[in-house]
Amino acid sequence: MIVGVALVMSAVPAQVNLAYADMNLDFSGFLAGDLRLFSEGAANSGQSDARLNPSTVLQLEWNLDWNEGDDRIDFIPFARIDPQDSERSHVDIRELNYLHLDDTWDLTIGIDKVFWGVTESRHLVDIINQTDAVEDSDGEDKLGQFMINLGLQSDVGDINFFIMPYFRERTFPGSDGRLRAPFVVDTDRTHYESDMEEFHPDLAFRYSVVKGDWDIGVAHFYGTSREARFIPEINGAGDTVLAPQYDLINQTSADIQATFDAWLWKFEGIYRQGHGDDFIAASGGLEYTFYGIADSDADLGLLAEYHYDGRDSSAPATIFDNDLFLGLRAALNDAQDTTFLAGVIWDTETQAQNYTVEASRRLNDYLTFEAELRIISNQPTSDPLYSARDDDHLQLRLSYYF
C-alpha cells in the first residue's frame, strides 16, 4: 500500500514532466511613456485646453508553445492610461488565441489580429480588426478581434476562412480629448443594422498567392462594417452627441504588389455594397528605394500613392476621396535601427494637407525613442479634418522593452 502510494506519487510528477518537457513559455512586453505636445488650445467646447498630454502604455505578452511550436497560445493584454481623456484610457486584449500549425493547414481560435494590404498611406482592404482610433490617427492600431480562422495552403495558393462572432466598436476620444469632431461620439448610443447587433457573425474569405515577382490577394467580407456613420442625437443632459451607426456591408477586395528590382508597385481596391450606393475605392502607387546612398549604409525611399473613393454622402466619411500621398523614407541601417518617414496626404479637391513625420531610434537593448509630428493645414470647413484644425501635435514616446 505504502509502496503503491509512493509509486503513484513518484509517477505523477514524472508524467507532468514528460507532458511539459516540450513546453516553452516566453514573457515579454513594453512600458511606454507618451507625451503629446499640442501647438494650440482646443477648438471644440468641452476639450481639455492643456497643451501637454502625458499618458502611459503597458503591453504584456505571453507565448506558450509545445510540439516544437506547432501548437501555441498567445496572450497580449494592452492598457493605456490617459489622465486627460477617460475614453482614451482603456484596456484591450490584443491577442488571446490558440494556434495549431500543420503542414498544409492552420487553425486559430480566439482573439487575434490580421493585416491585409500593401499600401502605406491608407489601409483600404484591411478589414478584419476594428481600429483603436484613440491610439493614433493613422489607423494602424487595432483592437483584438475574436475569430475562428482556418488557413489552407497548397501549391496554387493559400485560402483563409474567417468567422467573427463578436463585433468590436471603434474607440473614440471622449469630451475632454483632442483629435475629435465638434460633437462627442457617444458609444452608449450605438446602433446596428443587424438585429443581432454586435453578435452578428461576420464572415470573410481570402485567397492569396505568390507568382514570381507578384504577391496577390483577393478577399470578400460580409458583416458589420468597421466604419460607422454618425447620427446626431440629444443625450440626457440636453447635449448634442453623435451616435455611431454600424451597417451591414459586402466588400470584395484585391491587393497586389509587384516587386521589380528596387521598385515596389502597389495596388489595393474594394467594391462595397451597403453604404449608400455601391461604390469602388482604390489606392495605388509605388515605392522606389536608393540603397547605400552617398557610399553610406543608409537607404532613401521615395513613395507616391493616389487614393480614390467613390462613396456618396450617406456612407461613412473618408478623407481619402481624391488624395495624393507623397513620402520619403530613410533608414540609416545602423545598430540603433534609426528610421524616418515623412509624408503629406494632399486632397486634390480641397487642397487640405495632412503632414506626418515619424522617427524612431533604439537607445540601447531595452529603450526605444519615437517621435511623431502631425500637422493638418489648409483644410476647408467641409473637410472631415476641419474639426482637428487646432490639433497639430508632436508626440514623443520612450519605450522600455523587456
Partner: protein, 268 residues
C-alpha cells in the same frame, strides 16, 4: 646600337613573358580555383536542412556592445540551379522580438524576400536589390548571410599558404550576381576539409573593407562542418560583429511547407 638592340630585345621578351605568363597561369589558376570551390560545395551537398540559434554581438568603434538573439532555419533546395530557403526569427532586442525574415535564394536572379513585422502583423515583400546593405545594423551584409552558392562567383586560385595549424588554398572570388557590394573576395580554404577559414572583402573601389574569421568548426552527421564563431571586422569603420552559433541541428525534418509566406506570419 647593340646595347640598344639588346635592350629592345630584353624589353620585348620581358613584355611577352609578363603577358604570356598570366594568361597560361590564369587558365590553370581559374581551373584550380573552380576545382577547390567545387570540392567545398560538394562536401556540403545533401545536408538537407539545419536549425541553429545565433547570437550577434555588435561592437562599435568605442567598444560599446549590443546583441541580437535569433534563430535560423535553412532548407537545402536539391536543384543546383536554385538557392536554399531560409527563415530568420528575432528574439532580441525585445523591440524587434518576433520580427522574421524569409529568403528564397536564387543563383543569378534576385532573391525573393519577405519581412514580417509583428506590431502590425504585416508581411511585406521587400526588394532584394539591397545585397550590400547591413543586416540589422551589423557588419554582415545580406549577401554575406544569404546562401553562398557555387555559381554565384568566378574563382581564381592565388596560392597555397599556412593558415594557423592548417594549410590553406587562397582563392580570389568575384561575384557574378548583380548589386554586390564587393569587387572581389579573397577566401582561405583549408586543404584538409575544404572549410572557409578567412575572407577578405574588397569594396566597390577595390579597397579592403572587411575581414571575416571562422573559428570553432564542428562536424555534423560525420560530414558537414559549421563554424560556431564568426568574427567580422570592418577595417574602414573599426566596427565589429561576432556571430556565436549554438544548438545546431541537421536533418530535422524541415519541409518546404515550413518556409512559406504563411509560416513567416505565424512562426515564433
Amino acid at each position: 646600337m647593340l646595347n640598344l638592340h639588346l635592350k629592345t630585345f630584353l624589353v620585348t621578351s620581358l613584355a611577352v613573358t609578363t603577358l604570356a605568363f598570366p594568361v597560361n597561369a590564369g587558365t590553370s589558376a581559374a581551373q584550380k580555383g573552380a576545382d577547390i570551390a567545387a570540392e567545398w560545395d560538394k562536401r556540403d551537398k545533401g545536408f538537407g536542412d539545419s536549425r541553429a540559434t545565433l547570437k550577434m554581438i555588435l561592437e562599435n568603434r568605442h567598444g560599446e556592445k549590443s546583441t541580437r538573439d535569433l534563430r535560423i532555419k535553412t532548407l537545402e533546395v536539391p536543384d543546383s540551379s536554385e538557392g536554399d530557403k531560409s527563415l530568420t526569427i528575432f528574439n532580441k532586442p525585445r523591440d524587434i522580438k518576433g520580427t522574421a525574415f524569409l529568403s528564397y535564394a536564387h543563383i543569378l536572379e534576385p532573391d525573393d524576400q519577405w519581412l514580417y513585422l509583428p506590431a502590425l502583423k504585416r508581411v511585406k515583400r521587400i526588394s532584394s536589390k539591397n545585397k550590400s546593405g547591413p543586416f540589422v545594423g551589423s557588419e554582415f551584409s545580406y549577401e554575406d548571410l544569404t546562401a553562398q552558392e557555387l555559381e554565384k562567383y568566378s574563382y581564381t586560385w592565388l596560392k597555397d599558404e599556412a593558415c594557423g595549424d592548417l594549410q590553406c588554398a587562397v582563392l580570389e572570388q568575384t561575384p557574378t550576381y548583380a548589386n554586390s557590394g564587393y569587387t572581389k573576395m579573397i577566401v582561405w580554404y583549408d586543404t584538409a576539409e575544404y572549410r572557409q577559414q578567412k575572407i577578405d572583402y574588397y569594396d566597390r573601389k577595390g579597397s579592403l573593407l572587411k575581414t571575416l574569421q571562422f573559428a570553432e568548426y564542428q562536424q555534423y552527421l560525420d560530414q558537414y562542418w559549421r563554424a560556431h564563431n564568426m568574427f567580422m571586422t570592418n577595417h574602414q569603420t573599426g566596427k565589429k560583429t561576432r556571430l556565436v552559433y549554438s544548438d545546431y541541428a541537421f536533418q530535422t525534418g524541415l519541409k518546404a511547407s515550413d518556409l512559406t509566406k504563411r509560416k513567416l506570419e505565424k512562426v515564433r
